[in-house]
């Protein structure tokens, strides 16, 4: 009974996390990107609590709190502030249009199911149904990083990819050892801070956030 509920909750959570990742593909403004990322991280931290409760691992509560503070409160606030500083720029024309992006996202999730089939088949965890969704989210995040033109939206794509890995870890292993998890958060925070400095530098040096302009170095 408990296992069935756990299994359903975790699959629901994983699906929602993936859905917020795919939402990046049809939204245009940076603001909506940040909101989608915030919701995704909220659901992800709830999922950590659910797994912590059913899986009986109290370390995960700590991870959930840190994740919430970092990815729902701190990073989105920095993103908004950065956006205010460099002005609103829309992701006008990504390299791939919305309809095609959505189809590709669907294919990526299918691919994730295909490559994760042996992994799911050896696992007896109640959470195993969500594993392909986590890999799917990693692929979608990768796709966002590759196809977006604004430096700032690329950063959000990278953060979504990170969420995909956290999802994989929590569903597949009920969380990696706490000390590693905390180190990863520290890296995410520092990496994000350096990236936002670079976004500002790209804006001031090139007078635009378009990574299109970053095309001097060749050969």
């Amino acid at each position: 009974m408990n296992d069935a509920l756990f299994s359903q909750l975790s699959t629901l959570g994983a699906s929602l996390v993936l859905l917020f990742g795919i939402a990046l593909l049809w939204r245009r403004s940076l603001h909506s990107y940040v909101v989608a990322f915030q919701w995704q991280s909220t659901v992800l931290s709830l999922l950590f609590i659910v797994v912590g409760y059913f899986g009986n691992d109290h370390d995960l509560y700590v991870v959930a709190v840190v994740l919430f503070a970092l990815k729902v409160l701190i990073i989105p606030r920095y993103l908004q502030r950065l956006q205010a500083r460099i002005g609103i720029e829309r992701e006008v024309l990504p390299y791939v249009n919305v309809a095609t992006s959505l189809i590709i996202a669907g294919l990526l999730v299918l691919l994730a199911y295909a490559i994760m089939r042996p992994v799911v088949s050896i696992s007896a965890l109640p959470t195993r149904a969500g594993l392909p969704l986590a890999i799917g989210l990693i692929f979608v995040g990768l796709f966002v990083v590759i196809t977006r033109k604004k430096a700032l939206t690329q950063v959000v794509g990278f953060l979504v990819l990170e969420n995909g890995i956290a999802l994989l870890a929590v569903l597949g292993t009920y969380g990696i050892p706490l000390i590693v998890e905390l180190g990863v958060f520290l890296d995410v925070l520092m990496g994000f801070l350096v990236m936002q400095v670079f976004v500002y530098q790209i804006k001031t040096t090139f007078d635009s956030m378009d990574v299109d302009r970053l095309s001097q170095l060749k050969g």
Binding site: I122, V145, P177, V180, G191, F198, G219
Partner: protein
């Protein structure tokens, strides 16, 4: 204790550089002297390994560990770091950077060194990953030391590509841990490498295969294995030459180290075929990309970056060629570390003198800077595999291992590609050394201090080409016993 002596000096140096503002020359000198402590600790580890002590561990749940493989990498990293810190801008009065830039350079480069050392000292593969990611962050921070469009572009591409790559390596790490947990339950020390290796034979091959592909792509991005190499020429071309020296020799070696650690685990779970095929394929592809990009290269720092990709390819191939190949690959790693770092320091001198990184703007090098020119030519010729350099020996050993294993066609292809590399390097070198010297460039070296220490690395390179020191051979044999179980 030794671990503290290894890691603390660079952390303390970073702290010192951070708090002293504005930058003062004594900070640079203190940092350089501190790096000698790390070097001593690394040599101590190597000595312990050679004397066949039990690999020392340190920290809660044995977080750090130093076996022969770690010890060799520690020596490589600290040696290049010491050289870098002594040759860094800011130690002498004249410097191309302002105090603000020098402060940032000094604290970030020491953190970068600390992160590399933590990565090779880590026993827990999760901690190793964290340290690898930190190396990206700190090194990306110094590439745009002088803000130009090109340096901003290079650092952005480096940061983004490496971060994404390393994230994929983490996915692989999580998959490996998942497999472990499925088999034997959760354990705090499951990510410790010896524990992982002991369980490896019973891990599921399907999962391990997937995990290794993620890890090879991920850490391969950091090592610059083609086709994940695209950030490399940009970053090396735009970074300050001293950072380029550290990244091309030490950081590259550390990334290869991460791949080696996982390859051993994957081999134990899968038998050799799978990882060897992948590494051989990617290695030859890297060689091919490097060879053809070198032909058309116009920028000598980017030329060195493609040479790095070439050597990455060679080392990947060597690791896939059994015990003999592994021996050759590790020896090649040591030789490459000595040769490539020297090349970058010299390239830095040349760039400061001529004010341009383009080959076409550098003429008559041998007349304008006789010492730098001669050293540049000598090291470059050894880098492409001429005797009496150590690289000649390691490449020879590598090809012999390949022919032994009945890969004549693959080795023939690799040799053909190396010939292309050879010819294009000699032709580029010719253009730079000779010709009418540029008229607006004054004759004379940048400073004697910038050259004298480099004779040490040249001497080391020649020594490694003429004899194989017994301690090094012992260490390499121990490493082969770790990485290539027959």
């Amino acid at each position: 204790m030794n671990f503290i002596l290894l890691l603390a000096p660079s952390l303390f140096a970073a702290l010192l550089a951070f708090v002293v503002r504005p930058y003062r020359a004594f900070v640079g000198w203190v940092n350089a002297l501190l790096s000698l402590v790390s070097l001593g600790a690394a040599l101590q580890f190597a000595g312990q390994a050679i004397a066949e002590y039990e690999a020392p561990t340190f920290g809660p749940s044995e977080m750090f560990r130093a076996d022969s493989l770690s010890a060799l990498l520690m020596v490589c990293v600290t040696a290049v770091a010491t050289l870098t810190l002594f040759l860094s801008p800011g130690l002498t009065a004249e410097s191309p950077y302002n105090p603000r830039q020098l402060r940032r350079y000094h604290y970030a480069i020491n953190l970068f060194i600390a992160a590399m050392l933590a990565a090779v000292a880590a026993n827990n593969v999760g901690i190793m990953w964290i340290a690898m990611e930190a190396t990206t962050i700190f090194s990306a921070f110094i590439i745009p030391l002088t803000l130009t469009p090109a340096s901003v572009e290079a650092s952005w591409k480096y940061m983004l590509i490496s971060s994404v790559g390393i994230a994929l390596a983490f996915t692989g790490t999580v998959l490996g841990y998942f497999d472990f947990v499925t088999l034997s339950g959760r354990a705090e020390n499951a990510l410790n490498w010896p524990v992982l290796l002991a369980t490896a034979p019973s891990l599921h091959p399907e999962v391990m295969r997937l995990a290794f592909v993620f890890i090879l792509i991920g850490y391969g991005t950091k090592a610059g294995i083609a086709p994940m190499h695209t950030w490399k020429p940009d970053a090396y071309g735009e970074a300050p030459a001293t950072l380029g020296a550290l990244m091309s020799s030490a950081l590259f070696a550390v990334a290869m180290y991460a791949i080696i650690r996982w390859k051993v685990v994957a081999d134990a779970a899968l038998n050799h075929g799978f990882t060897d095929t992948l590494m051989l394929a990617l290695g030859l592809f890297s060689l091919a990309i490097a060879a053809f990009s070198l032909v058309i290269q116009r920028n000598y720092k980017r030329m060195l970056a493609y040479s790095s990709i070439e050597h990455t390819g060679l080392i990947c191939c060597g690791l896939a060629l059994g015990p003999l190949g592994a021996f050759a690959a590790m020896l090649h790693l040591v030789n490459h570390t000595a040769a490539k770092s020297t090349m970058f320091f010299l390239a830095g001198n040349i760039e400061r003198k001529y004010g341009s990184p383009l080959i076409e703007n550098v003429r008559g090098l041998i007349k304008i800077m006789p010492w730098t020119g001669a050293l540049f030519a000598a090291t470059l010729l050894m880098l492409i595999g001429l005797p009496p350099g150590g690289i000649f020996i390691s490449e020879f050993a590598l090809f012999r291992a390949g022919f032994r294993l009945d890969h004549p066609w693959l080795m023939g292809l690799a040799l053909a590609l190396l010939t292309i590399v050879f010819i294009s390097f000699v032709s580029h070198l010719n253009k730079m050394l000779y010709g009418a010297p540029n008229e607006n460039v004054a004759k004379g070296e940048v400073s004697a201090w910038q050259i004298a220490p480099l004779f040490l690395s040249l001497a080391l390179l020649v020594t490694l080409g003429l004899i194989q020191p017994a301690p090094l051979t012992t260490l390499l044999n121990q490493i082969v016993a770790i990485v290539a179980r027959p």
